[in-house]
Symmetry: D5
Subunit: 127 residues, 10 copies
């Protein structure tokens, strides 16, 4: 019943940064994230927390919501989902730095949180 | 029904700092902030948290309350509101440093917090 | 009805530090602090938090309680009260360093916290 | 009734790291850990918290669950259990760094938390 | 009725450290500590929190419990009790470093927390 | 600046009750309610909590949101607002019973909660 | 993208009640419920809480989980979902009484909780 | 220093009840209440919680605040203060019923809450 | 590895009730209960809460602890475990009434609480 | 070391009830209660909560504190301590009704709360 589609980040939209002369932080919390476990086909639930210092552009929040909704029917592991969201958002808005946290609810008595960070200056996607 | 006026920071008032010889911090929390979303015309709600090290002057709290009340009928995005409040308060009381946090309630399952900082010594409004 | 007296710190008493050979911290919390707003004559409420590294002497706690009780009928702003308490306590027990936090309850939807620090070595009352 | 077996870490399984080019953190919390006190034969209860930066491999979570289940009938002190788990997991997935926290519930009015860390670069198991 | 005995730390026992090759932390919390105020003869209550990096030996927890129980009928000030416990435990297990926190409940609307630290390398009992 | 309009409840919309054969409860919480104090012209903030047993009709939630938004620029006391909302909602959806709670935030150190109930059988608006 | 299927309760399974001679309560909480809003096509999230007094049969919990998972792609209002779950579970296990609570997260600043109850003796589905 | 005046309830003011046809409850919480212990002369702190069903009149909140402020320099026991407030408020607004709770903070490790109720119908001040 | 033994309640011990002339309640909470799921062989975790009005005898708490420990290696469903504990304890101490609550942690996103009650007067094990 | 004395309630003192014409409740909480386990000689800790409707007399709080302090060196079980306190306080102040709750901290993973009630009218010490 669950469909495993190819991933796309086409839906992310950006807006001009209203204060590009200043390093400031935007933190977004999406506590209603859900994806599908590729091993069991059962849903996973979690909270995606994004914080970033914008450069020329900010993320448009409504489009971000629709982007995260696409994971609802997607089979993906926690580690891959968190890194994929970071890669997609960095590609879309080119921030000065960005951290994505995926905090997933308990499965079998074990809960998992994945934290990945991107920083611009260090020439590429190193932490 | 909602009116989108030009912004003014005329209402902010200042008092002499009672201990200018010392670097100390004043933190102000205003949890009943509300503005208007410029896209939907619907109200936004949040908490504005201001912390600063005063130089010659402190912010007068009653005038600060009235200044924040002016956003009640103003259409403005989260990022712009937080940066605007920082700019207006820095212009009024010329602090040694100041941070403004705008923590806004959930819309469509997503909540947003914006944090902007001003520091005096670095010649201008860079973080 | 409220009396605005001149301030005095005569009541603070000190004890010998039982472990002067060691830098260690003593933190005292007084959540039942109350003073009077000099503009409205109405009472202010808050918590005074004192933390310090004693040198030769510690603060005697019962005398400290009576010292703080004197603010009950005193008209004083938040910023001045916090700095005054720091100055009085430093003068009395000459600590290696001390921080005083005044966390005051909400007035008109706005709450305020003032944090002031004294450090001995930097020749005088700079933070 | 309780059996004290020799320890084995044979069950831990690993998966390829989906983002080895980036230093990122995976944190796993297992709040239903239980072992046996070697002095009294009575059960101990606690939460095992593992956080690590993967190198070439990640820990497979279902196998990790079964590995932790083996302590259910094992007689071992808090300090030894926490260090043993760290050693076993480091041997299995060779992370860039890893911290294991064992937070055990109160016994006789006293609760204990043990925190051990491994870092790769410092040539061996020093913190 | 309360007896003020001379202090002794004879009861503290030690165990070999199971992982001496690694710097790791053991934190112990004893929330049911009680002693006697030497001025009023009334009981004081608090939580003693000990955290240390063991060297050759760990503290044995049952003996530690009995050591802390001895303060039940001992008249001692907060500052002295916290420093005494640190001195006794350091003398017994010779840790690489140790911090003792004594967090005492409110008396006359004022609560007190004392934090003392020992570090081995700095040749003696400096923080 | 604040406009005091005549009140209207024209905006409330209703839907058919999907289970009219059963007495069941629908509880709606609107924590972002704001109105205007008629004495000071300053905004009031609170949470409106509505619970009711529907008869033939349920309240449509989006229209309910717009109905509550109309109080944003309306000068009205707490007691009157809570009773007015109860009267308007009862008139619109004719429930078997309904309770409206208005829980308003602190003003001058005093917070107020108003609770009004309507029950159908007792011939009219008695509790 | 979202599919609106006809509803079926075929998946609910039952087990013999191990203590039918006694009236006792079984309460089940499923905090990861999600369905689809039939007006917007966007996901809704909530917690389903079921409590019942079993008669001859209990609900089998794994089958109950799969039954609730079917709502993941189903367009249904809060009131209808809660009543539908009650009807389906009552039909399957014929309890002495059962209450279903659907507590849904905030949408547009408004959150909703629906509570429906079935009792056997009162000849049919009255509360 | 503390003055023990004769008590007066002259300051309580009333407003017409906007919905006298309905029994509804108004609950007021004043968490910044302070009086003086008549035995020690030291301040007491507590929260006064008033809930009542108004008859012809409601309590005016600003006057209520000033009425409670009068206890700031008044020597009175907990039990007497709570009953006095109930008597004064009943005399002023003649409610259908009223409960006053005085919840006082800890003194000597003991905290006290006093709850007194007035009901109109039972001809006089019986609970 | 897990052994499924026949059940026995031989270990429960009783003490004379020190106040049999009075109906009073004893509530015991055991948050470290663990048993084994008979379908998966995996451990279940939960809290057993017992409250009862003793008649001639009270439960001895140390023996009660050992009785509950026997479930650690026993395969039993939640409903059966809760009813079995109630039956065993009632048989042992013959209380005037007793309630046993088994509150089990989440499995597959679903948590379960079972509540069973015994009352003496109603001639047998009816609620 | 611990002394097991005969019990006495000689220290409880009473005051005239300031409002004997009204049934009202006084609730006293003493969270720093400690006694001694008669089996192990180790200290027990708990909170004693007393609530009563006074008749002619109230309990004097300072004497009550000293009465509870006497249990510090007394060997007594939870059930006996709670009932003894109820009997002693009822004998001293002859209330219309009184409830004593003894809520004791965890021992061996099990915590216990005892609740005993006295009511005057039912001719003697029945609940």
């Amino acid at each position: 019943m669950i469909e495993f589609e190819a991933m796309s980040s086409s839906k992310i939209e950006i807006l001009p940064n209203p204060a590009p002369e200043r390093d400031y932080e935007i933190a977004v919390s999406a506590p209603e994230f859900t994806s599908v476990c590729p091993m069991t086909g059962l849903p996973d639930f979690g909270e995606i927390r994004i914080s970033y210092v914008p450069d020329a552009h900010c993320l448009e929040l409504k489009a971000l919501k629709y982007y995260l909704l696409e994971y609802r029917s997607r089979g993906i592991f926690y580690e891959a989902a968190t890194n994929q969201i970071l890669d997609d958002l960095v590609a879309a808005c080119r921030p000065r730095r960005m951290t994505v946290v995926g905090a997933f609810t308990s499965r079998g008595g074990i809960s998992t949180t994945v934290t990945a960070t991107y920083t611009k200056r260090k020439s590429g996607a190193r932490r």
